[in-house]
């Protein structure tokens, strides 16, 4: 212990986990989950960074994206907000509206690309 004290002045707070500095509007009751929140933030960032760089599939071409957008906007298959495109395709299939199988193949091929799986209005809440 005394050797360490001679090398560098160590503080008790060095053993505490690192926190990101937030603005003054930080809600007071969140001290317990701060560690988890930071961990989640790191994980989420890692995930987003990984997806487009995944070398397993090439990015989908614009024609495919245009076809998916048209699938979203076609009124025959019902509302498109709030559910993934695959869920909407399967619902249309069960109701007997015969959606084109090409779209399902494309959705399954690019399953981990959020631009493909989620609908056009995904960024907007509800």
């Amino acid at each position: 212990m005394s050797r360490r004290a001679m090398e560098q002045p160590r503080r008790i707070t060095d053993s505490f986990p690192r926190r990101r500095r937030r603005g003054p509007g930080r809600p007071p009751g969140r001290l317990k989950n701060k560690k988890d929140k930071d961990k989640d933030k790191d994980e989420v960032q890692l995930k987003v960074r990984d997806c487009p760089r995944a070398p397993s599939q090439p990015p989908p071409d614009p024609a495919l994206m245009e076809m998916l957008r048209r699938f979203d906007l076609s009124w025959e298959y019902g509302p498109c907000t709030g559910i993934t495109r695959l869920q909407r395709w399967e619902r249309a299939q069960e109701l007997g509206l015969s959606p084109p199988g090409l779209i399902r193949d494309a959705l399954l091929e690019h399953r981990d690309n959020p631009d493909v799986t989620y609908s056009l209005w995904h960024e907007y809440e509800l």
């Binding site: 009124w75 025959e76 019902g78 509302p79 907000t81 709030g82 559910i83 869920q87 399967e90 619902r91 069960e94 109701l95 007997g96 509206l97 809440e125 509800l126």
Partner: protein, 468 residues
């Protein structure tokens, strides 16, 4: 059921106790299967709009309605969507009804600061002569007028209307039809008399304890602890008890603790805690003797939106030790001895009652069966989970017994359909108000009320009566 066989053996009560008291084994349970999987929600996500449930409802019921329209108005009737309507052409349109009501409580009006309005007090009925009916399909909507009863219908019903569009943009209805009775289920009921007891609205935890004695009498009758040998042998034919909602009283719902200061409410506990303890003790007595299905109701500690999920078994520690206790969802569907039961705790019927001119609970129950949907007003005025894949409230098969709980009176009717459907429509009365339960005979779909009254105000000799 009880009076015919009981009277003969009444003398047995005055005789000295016999060496070997007779035993009556309860009729064995055979063939129970729970069919309420569509009403059980697993993981719930509320990040969706209600447009999905309406779209699925229309898409799901459209084929059936088109078939009905062809059979009613001829095979060559023109079926059009609203976007394809031509003025003056007689055609048939299938769509969802929307009733725009002036008195309908609207949250936007309540919080609107410009109007400075006091929130509207709850009324028994919200209908007015100025209400209008509008038909909506996937893309457009059109106002309806003509041979269609605006006061009677409610929002959310899928209907097929026959008529023509007029030059002022309204649709003149000459005739309309609903989905009608769903296809029948094969009948495989029991060969001997078997009874199911239905009761609802036990109302535990209320301020007055008048109904508690009647509840105890009900439990005693079912477990065979009441009456002479005749009554006990009759009670042995009861194979199941279904409690259709509102096990707790409305008094347990008081939210004073939210408005009062913290120091006043620190030591108080919710009124529902005591009431659930009482419920647990009553269910324990019942479960030791007969299988019980417990459905949650409007005032019970479970979620508010339909379909209500089963009560959690941790609230009933004594009774859930028995396998005879089944905690089930609010629209409840099960096959008991080959007879299909389908029923709710009454929220759907009372919601239609508020927004329609129909006054009779049995009439509303029959109307929901003919409209092909258990609760058309969900999600407009009745809370509902935002389904997106399919609407579980659409009736796909015709049940044999269709009941609703917490009705003001006992009423029953045997409905015969054109395709051989036979449905017993049953409104189970509120037990805390009427002290009446229902006995359904699974053999011939007959039904009788059973009333437990005690020490009535006008009764002079203070006798306990068990009458029906």
């Amino acid at each position: 059921m009880f009076s015919e066989q009981a009277a003969a053996t009444a003398q047995g009560l005055l005789a000295p106790p016999s060496a070997e008291p007779p035993t009556f084994p309860r009729v064995a349970v055979s063939g129970y299967s729970d069919c309420s999987q569509p009403f059980q929600l697993g993981e719930r996500s509320f990040a969706r709009q209600y447009a999905h449930i309406y779209a699925v409802r229309l898409a799901g019921m459209r084929p059936g309605l088109e078939r009905r329209a062809r059979s009613r108005w001829g095979n060559d009737v023109v079926l059009r969507r609203l976007s394809e309507l031509q003025e003056g052409e007689k055609c048939c349109v299938v769509g969802t009804l929307f009733k725009s009501m002036q008195l309908q409580p609207s949250i936007l009006q309540e919080i609107s600061e410009e109007h400075n309005l006091v929130p509207q007090p709850p009324l028994p009925k919200y209908i007015q002569p100025s209400d209008e009916l509008i038909l909506e399909d996937e893309l457009q909507r059109i106002k309806l007028e003509g041979a269609i009863d605006v006061q009677r219908l409610v929002t959310g019903t899928i209907v097929a209307v026959y008529g023509c569009e007029q030059d002022d943009g309204r649709f003149l209805v000459e005739d309309h039809c609903f989905a009608d009775l769903p296809p029948p289920l094969p009948w495989s009921g029991p060969s001997s008399d078997r009874y199911v007891l239905l009761a609802s609205g036990l109302g535990l935890g209320s301020v007055s304890g008048e109904a508690l004695l009647s509840t105890q009498l009900l439990v005693d009758v079912v477990t065979g602890q009441l009456g002479a040998e005749g009554e006990q042998s009759c009670a042995a034919h009861i194979t199941r008890v279904i409690l259709a909602g509102n096990l707790l009283s409305q008094n347990t719902q008081s939210r004073d603790t939210i408005n009062k200061a913290k120091y006043l409410t620190k030591k108080t506990q919710a009124a529902s805690v005591e009431a659930v303890k009482m419920l647990d003790e009553i269910l324990l007595q019942l479960c030791t003797s007969v299988p019980v299905d417990v459905m949650p109701g409007e005032f019970d500690p479970t979620n508010y939106t339909l379909p209500q999920q089963p009560l959690h078994r941790c609230m009933l520690p004594l009774a859930s030790a028995y396998a005879t206790l089944r905690l089930v969802t609010n629209p409840y569907q099960a096959s008991l001895d080959g007879v299909r039961f389908l029923g709710t705790s009454g929220q759907n019927i009372s919601d239609i009652f508020k927004y329609s001119s129909m006054d009779d609970y049995l009439e509303i129950l029959e109307w929901t069966l003919l409209a092909g949907h258990i609760s058309p007003t969900a999600p407009d005025t009745l809370g509902c989970y935002p389904f997106y894949k399919s609407d579980p409230f659409i009736l796909t098969e015709c049940p044999h017994v269709y009941f609703c709980g917490n009705a003001p009176h006992f009423q029953s009717k045997l409905l015969q359909g054109k395709e051989g459907q036979r449905v017993l429509l049953l409104t189970v009365p509120d037990f805390s108000a009427t002290q009446t339960a229902c006995l359904v005979n699974l053999h011939d779909l007959s039904c009788q009320p059973i009333t437990f009254s005690s020490f009535g105000a006008d009764s002079e000799d203070g006798d306990m009566e068990l009458e029906h």
